[in-house]
């Protein structure tokens, strides 16, 4: 095994984001094939990112939504005094 776990760790971002150089990618995969801990770490990282990407936006209080739209309308009228609304 030429690539070490530490070296693999440094290239983790590029690997999971699919931006790693193909030659390095091959080495990366060769290392993983013989190193179970690295395999599991990479799998954990991918799942972590997937979970956060697919996470729900935080609930925004309805009372705040009304306040927000009201302040937008006020600002709008200040800037567009001729507008009918």
């Amino acid at each position: 095994m030429t690539m070490k776990c530490e070296e693999l760790l440094k290239m983790l971002n590029e690997y999971v984001d699919g931006t790693v150089d193909p030659a390095i990618c091959e080495e990366f995969e060769k290392h993983m094939a013989g190193c179970n801990p690295c395999q599991v770490v990479v799998d954990n990282i991918r799942k972590t990112i997937t979970l956060y990407r697919n996470g729900q936006p935080c609930a925004m209080p309805i009372s705040f939504r009304e306040k927000l739209h009201q302040s937008v309308r006020e600002k709008w009228r200040q800037l567009h005094p001729t507008a009918e609304k």
Binding site: M1, K4, C5, E6, L9, K10, L12, N13, C35, N36, P37, V40, V41, D43, N44, I45, K47, T48, I49, T50, L51, Y52, R53, N54, G55, Q56, P57, C58, M60, P61, F64, R65, K67, L68, H69, S71, V72, R73, K75, W76, L79, H80, A83, K85
Partner: protein, 215 residues
């Protein structure tokens, strides 16, 4: 041009922007409706406080109203809005810290490099797939708690890049960081979140304990 309220949900973002630029408030409010939850979430996840998140969301939309004529439509409206909201959120963070510098790149701080990356400790397969996990109510709570434990500088990068889906370049621009710094912080954030989540979601039966002999 004025848009009919009944069909407004089907109007494209670009059309709404054009209408809003021409003075149509309904079009702007539709833009706000489409993006407000995402902007609020972004602010909440950066600031970790509902009151500040509301302030920043409001500031971002008011600033968008004021600067709409200057929006050149080179990026999507959402991207433009994210940039405004991020800038407003970062201003709050700087204020909290009593900083008045523009960039969050801290010259005084020891440089982080790849040699000091913490090694993964708790290594185990997860008991459930992400698809199963998103179905569970506790998951979002677990994700938010883990995010809250990150150092702010790592959290900001992770939120913009992995939660909000900005590119590394866009994240670097938004935070006033170099791309290599963004990548470094992102790696630390991802590793720490992996660690946190795996401690809860990992199956202890599959846990791998690394020996000192390891490469």
């Amino acid at each position: 041009m004025s848009l009919h309220v009944a069909m407004i949900a089907e109007v494209t973002e670009a059309e709404l922007v054009r209408a809003a630029k021409a003075g149509d408030l309904t079009a702007f409010e539709e833009l706000a409706t489409r993006h407000e939850r995402q902007i609020y979430s972004l602010a909440y996840r950066i600031l970790q406080n509902p009151h500040d998140a509301e302030d920043v969301t409001q500031q971002a939309f008011l600033s968008a109203v004021e600067n709409l004529a200057r929006f050149r439509e080179e990026s999507s409206f959402a991207t433009w809005l994210y940039r405004i909201a991020t800038f407003a959120a970062l201003k709050v963070i700087r204020k909290r810290k009593g900083l008045d510098t523009v960039s969050l790149e801290e010259a005084t701080e020891p440089r982080e490099d790849y040699d000091s990356i913490p090694h993964p400790e708790y290594i185990a397969d997860w008991k459930q797939s992400p698809e199963q996990l998103v179905e569970r109510n506790e998951t979002q709570r677990l994700l938010d708690d883990a995010l809250a434990k990150l150092d702010e500088k790592h959290r900001l990068v992770f939120v913009l890049r992995d939660v909000e889906g900005l590119s590394v370049t866009e994240t670097a621009e938004a935070l006033g960081l170099t791309e290599s710094n963004v990548k470094m912080r992102l790696l630390r954030a991802r590793l720490q979140l992996r660690e946190e989540l795996t401690r809860t979601l990992g199956d202890p039966a599959t846990r791998i304990v690394r020996g000192h002999h390891h490469h």
